[in-house]
């Protein structure tokens, strides 16, 4: 009998998972909690199974010669599944009642299915061995996002955002395809090893055109300058849980795409594309920080913040493969936890009030624990020492500095000061400003409280217990 290698099991479960969740709806009415429970069990099961896969250094393990599971892939899977799980948890409340002036959402089973498809797309990206699978993975990750953005059919803002998103996304996809076709023309093959060999043998303008368009296309998904313009509008228009998923899953997929490309087929010319990466990183983080300075709506603010974070992550791509990939994976973990913590807090506020800075006023007096969670997540995103965010940023910058990009690292560190300024503004609203009597009081459900506590502890613990991150580093044998 044909036996299935164990490392592929989580991927297979994830593949059938959305069908099961959506299919379960056939057997129960629309109020049933069964899809939600299946989703929880399924995602947690996948996460646990992923943790059981032994990390293997080197080429990784192959499934039918074209599906590669290496250590970077496994850790990226964990990030993506974690993000999906947290996204599902965050979205639950939005199916029970409306929030932030938007009506209640429906069809939770399909919603979870869409998130799972997007996650599977991300997994395809990190497993691909040829440009075709690679491209398909990226598309599988993107297309459910368009649908998710417009999930709230009664919300005009969401529809408008989705329209913008899909139009711009199509152009970006066209760029990608254009780039891939040139790459094929240059290398004469689709497989990464063929491209790698061709690139190592010598370059030609064909290759550079391909690189340019690939970077520009992925720049759209990663919200790099000047391709980020959709992000603030879409982040604000989409339902809050979708925004959170967009900012983590979508970004993680895009950065994984770049990491696979830069450390895979394009590795021989990494040095030549380093100036482009450095410029993209520097300009993006600067523009993201500038944009965030003057925002008053929380989700728009988070959009700019995540643009800036994308710039920071790009810095790591300048480093050598192991250090760079390690820094990226570690940072994505930290970023996912910190970002979801922020979105949970904003979500809780959004259930009772508008999602603006003004709604945070006096939070420390009304609900101190929520204010503490907010402060933890903001300080972590800003990279203040004992918290996880600091170590994450430290590894990113370290990776960039390893190859001597001190100018960029200095610029990024200076920008971090600028970033601190706006993160502090938020904390100031919550801690310093006097409470506003007109604000409706906040109530936390048990699930919300548990998740906020869990994530807060996570952010603090990863910072205080660096050995947790050592487990991640252990996967990469230096």
């Amino acid at each position: 009998m044909y036996s299935i290698p164990h490392f592929i099991i989580p991927d297979l479960i994830l593949l059938v998972f959305p069908f099961i969740v959506i299919g379960s709806r056939l057997f129960c009415d629309y109020k049933s909690k069964i899809p939600w429970r299946i989703a929880n069990i399924g995602l947690m099961l996948i996460f646990v199974l992923l943790n059981l896969i032994p990390l293997a250094s080197g080429e990784g393990q192959f499934f039918i010669s074209n599906w590669r599971v290496d250590d970077f892939g496994v850790l990226m899977r964990e990030v993506l599944i974690l993000s999906a799980l947290l996204g599902v948890w965050l979205s639950k409340d939005y199916f029970e009642h409306g929030a932030d002036g938007k009506p209640q959402m429906h069809q939770i089973a399909e919603f979870i299915g869409a998130i799972a498809f997007a996650t599977f797309g991300g997994i395809t990206v990190v497993s691909a061995c040829d440009t075709l699978t690679f491209f398909l993975g990226l598309e599988i990750a993107t297309i459910p996002m368009y649908a998710l953005t417009a999930w709230n059919k009664k919300d005009q803002m969401g529809t408008e955002a989705a329209t913008k998103y899909i139009l711009m996304g199509s152009v970006a996809t066209a760029f990608e395809l254009f780039g891939f076709s040139y790459l094929f023309g240059f290398a004469g093959g689709l497989h990464f090893s063929e491209i790698h060999a061709a690139v190592a043998a010598g370059t030609s303008p064909l290759l550079w055109v391909a690189v340019l368009f690939l970077f520009c296309g992925i720049g759209f998904k990663l919200t790099l300058f000047p391709f980020y313009t959709w992000a603030p509008d879409v982040y604000e228009g989409a339902p809050t849980p979708v925004t959170a998923v967009l900012s983590v899953t979508s970004k993680a997929t895009a950065i994984a795409f770049l990491a696979v490309l830069v450390y895979g087929p394009l590795a021989p010319i990494q040095e030549q594309i380093a100036p482009l990466i450095a410029l993209l990183a520097g300009v993006t983080l600067f523009v993201g920080n500038l944009g965030a300075l003057k925002q008053s709506r929380l989700r728009r603010f988070m959009a700019y913040s995540s643009i800036a974070q994308a710039g920071y992550i790009m810095v790591a791509l300048l480093g050598p493969a192991e250090i760079g990939k390690t820094a990226i994976v570690y940072y994505l973990f930290v970023y996912a936890i910190s970002n979801y913590l922020a979105f949970f807090v904003f979500g809780i506020i959004g259930h009772h009030r508008e999602e603006t800075f003004a709604s945070l006023r006096g939070l420390s007096k009304q609900n101190p624990s929520l204010a503490i969670a907010l402060a933890i997540s903001m300080f972590s995103l800003a990279g203040i020492p004992p918290l996880a965010g600091f170590f994450g940023k430290f590894h990113l910058f370290f990776s960039g500095a390893t190859t001597g990009h001190y100018m960029l690292v200095t610029f990024a560190v200076l920008n971090n000061v600028l970033a601190l300024f706006y993160y502090i503004q938020l904390i100031k609203s919550a801690w310093v400003d006097e409470p506003d009597g007109h604000l409706t009081p906040l109530r936390l459900t048990k699930r919300q409280r548990a998740v906020v506590i869990f994530l807060s502890i996570g952010v603090v613990a990863i910072g205080f217990l660096p050995f947790l991150s050592n487990n991640i580093f252990a996967g990469f044998n230096y």
């Binding site: 329209t163 913008k164 139009l167 711009m168 152009v171 970006a172 760029f175 370059t203 303008p205 550079w208 055109v209 690189v211 340019l212 368009f213 970077f215 520009c216 720049g219 759209f220 300058f225 000047p226 391709f227 313009t229 959709w230 603030p232 509008d233 030549q272 594309i273 100036p275 482009l276 410029l279 993209l280 523009v287 500038l290 944009g291 300075l293 003057k294 925002q295 600028l418």
Partner: protein
């Protein structure tokens, strides 16, 4: 297994442990627990120090130096490595005992003194930090370590002097102490840099075994000018001494010490007896062989010490604030210690009796001065004022305190067989042997003044009729926690002289010197007699003026009919005023105004511009985000073009 290394660690780490635990956990709510922990740990540290001292002095190893442990922690260029270690020699062992013991006593005393203070926990925490930093300074194996702990002493004294931060006078006093000693420390640091640059090492063992001859001919570039390396060393030695000058509050940097009385009395007590001010004297004693080769640095030290000694004693005779009298007396005693180190230099040769005398005086002085401050604190605690005007007649109400005060005052006055007699006698003898007759005369004269002002304090506080309503009414008692350390301290105040004399004469020599040494010294048997005679005479004068049946105390305390000279002295020669004029008008007025203008216009202007510019850029990003889809799509195309041309791809 208790060996000397373990003891060494215990001595250092127990106070640090107390500081951390009290500071972090117990300080806020559990005052009693904090006090108990502080007393226990400091007591254990004191026991460890005494045990270590017994081990050390009983072993045949005794006067040699040993390093119990040493860690490298900052490697500078080449051989220059900053280390943290623990040096053991007679001097540091003696200081360990003094610091831990005094700290133990003061901690016990503070239980009573701080009983009603809301932030007593913080107090115990800081007090332990203070003794930890002084211990670290004492055991330093090199200049760098000494400087680190030197600064830590400064910081903790700042925190303690300004402990009652709600009192503006305490805040300004702590600021003054900190700034003034920091000012001196900056010279110290400069000296360390210079000396380590010339010598290539921070280690005391290297610095103390230098001979100047090797440095006579090489030139060294100091950036400003080229000098001989030997000259650079001499400049460095003066700079290093400047650090001790400020820390030990020698004239004219003395003004912070009397003002530092604003802190709680236990703090004054520990500052004046075992930590902080003694650090300056300790520095000179520790580096004595180094100072000895540096031409006339020791002579400078002698004159600074001698002048401060007389100057402070004269002021002390007129003060009415009991703590200030004690503060000036400390200044005067520090002057004794300083000049005793200085008088060792006789022309080109050196005699080491002064060194022995000085370290001996550090030892004896610590006990009786600590005791005196604790007594002053007790009195203040009962009558709620520092003013001698309001005391008097406390003898019957506080009999134990009275007896202990008498012992300590006899000790500081140098009356045999009390401890101060032996050490002071040696100092005066050293001045005589050094043939510095002017200083010798001043020392004898000051010893008379000391007796006079101490007995003036004694008679006015304890004898006569009560001048305070509370005392008259009988609301005075002796607090157990506060009286216990006073009584304990009276024992060494009485006996440490007799018992310590042999020990000091046998073991306390400054190490191998690289200058000619004078071995045969004239011994004058009449000096102790003269000194005691002068002291007794001064005592009688004080008795006649302030305690005899005919004394008119009301007149003695009246300020209206005083001569001009008295007023000048009473106002401390208007030194504070002069100092403030210079500092306020010149430094704050001139230098500060210019630098402030620079700060306001140039730096803040630049900063404001940067902020304005960044906000403008932020607005730009925001306005670009108008929600207009064709514009967004355009950015995609433009983005490709931008990175085509600016992406630095070899296209």
């Amino acid at each position: 297994m208790i060996n000397d290394v373990t003891l060494g660690y215990l001595i250092l780490l127990l106070p640090l442990f107390t500081f951390v635990v009290n500071g972090l956990f117990l300080g806020h709510k559990h005052h009693k627990a904090a006090a108990a922990l502080a007393v226990t740990c400091n007591g254990l540290a004191a026991a460890s120090a005494i045990l270590l001292a017994i081990h050390y002095f009983c072993s045949s190893f005794a006067p040699q130096k040993a390093i119990l442990f040493e860690y490298e922690f900052i490697p500078f260029v080449g051989e220059l490595v900053a280390k943290i270690g623990m040096l053991i020699d007679p001097l540091s062992v003696m200081m360990l005992v003094v610091v831990t013991f005094i700290s133990f006593m003061v901690n016990i005393y503070s239980i009573g003194y701080m009983r009603e203070d809301r932030s007593a926990g913080r107090f115990f925490s800081l007090l332990s930090l203070f003794s930890f930093s002084m211990l670290g300074l004492v055991v330093a194996t090199n200049l760098f370590q000494m400087f680190i702990f030197w600064e830590l002493v400064g910081v903790s004294s700042y925190l303690l002097i300004g402990f009652w931060y709600h009192k503006p006078s305490a805040v300004s006093a702590s600021k003054q102490a900190f700034i003034l000693t920091r000012f001196a420390d900056s010279f110290f640091l400069l000296g360390i840099v210079l000396v380590s640059y010339v010598v290539g090492s921070f280690d005391f063992s290297v610095l103390n075994s230098l001979g100047l001859a090797g440095f006579k001919y090489d030139l060294i570039n100091l950036g400003i000018c080229e000098v001989k390396r030997s000259t650079a060393l001499v400049i460095g030695s003066v700079l290093i001494f400047t650090g001790g000058w400020g820390k030990s509050a020698m004239f004219p940097m003395h003004i912070w010490l009397p003002n530092a009385m604003e802190g709680p009395t236990p703090v004054s007590s520990i500052i004046h007896s075992a930590t902080m001010v003694v650090a300056g004297v300790y520095l000179v004693a520790r580096l004595f062989p180094f100072f000895a080769i540096c031409e006339n640095t020791l002579t400078l030290i002698m004159w600074v010490g001698a002048f401060t000694m007389v100057f402070a004693a004269v002021i002390a005779c007129t003060q009415k604030d009991i703590k200030r009298i004690l503060a000036y007396s400390t200044l005067s005693q520090l002057g004794y210690m300083m000049f005793a180190l200085g008088v060792c230099k006789i022309g080109q040769v050196v005699a080491v009796t002064g060194w022995t005398a000085s370290t001996f005086h550090i030892f004896t002085h610590a006990f009786f001065k600590c005791s005196l401050f604790l007594i002053a604190g007790s009195l203040i605690h009962q009558v709620h004022t520092n003013d001698l005007d309001a005391m008097g007649g406390l003898r019957k109400k506080m009999p134990l305190t009275y007896v202990c005060a008498l012992i300590s005052i006899l000790a500081i006055s140098g009356i045999p067989p009390f401890s101060g007699f032996f050490s002071k006698d040696e100092i005066i003898l050293a001045a005589f042997q050094g043939r510095h007759y002017a200083v010798f005369g001043l020392a004898l004269f000051t010893s008379g003044l000391t007796t006079f002002y101490m007995f003036r304090l004694f008679f006015l506080a304890f004898h006569g009729e009560p001048r305070h309503e509370g005392v008259k009414a009988g609301h005075v008692h002796e607090d157990f926690a506060m009286t216990l350390p006073i009584v304990i301290l009276a024992i060494p105040a009485l006996l440490s002289g007799i018992l310590g004399k042999g020990l000091f004469e046998k073991f306390f020599i400054p190490g191998r010197l690289h200058v000619p040494q004078l071995m045969r010294l004239a011994h004058a048997d009449w000096i102790p007699l003269a000194a005691v005679g002068i002291a007794v005479l001064a005592l009688l004068i004080a008795w006649f003026l302030y305690a005899s049946p005919k004394a008119k105390i009301a007149r003695a305390l009246d300020e209206t009919n005083r001569s001009g000279l008295y007023k000048v002295v009473y106002h401390k020669f208007y030194f504070d005023e002069m100092y403030y004029t210079v500092v306020r008008q010149f430094i704050f007025g001139g230098v500060a105004r210019v630098s402030r203008a620079f700060n306001d216009i140039v730096i803040e202007g630049l900063l404001a511009f940067c902020i304005w510019f960044i906000h403008k850029l932020g607005n730009l990003v925001r306005t670009a985000q108008a929600g207009y889809l064709p514009f967004y799509l355009g950015t995609l195309i433009i983005g490709v073009l931008i990175w085509r041309f600016f992406g630095q791809l070899p296209l």
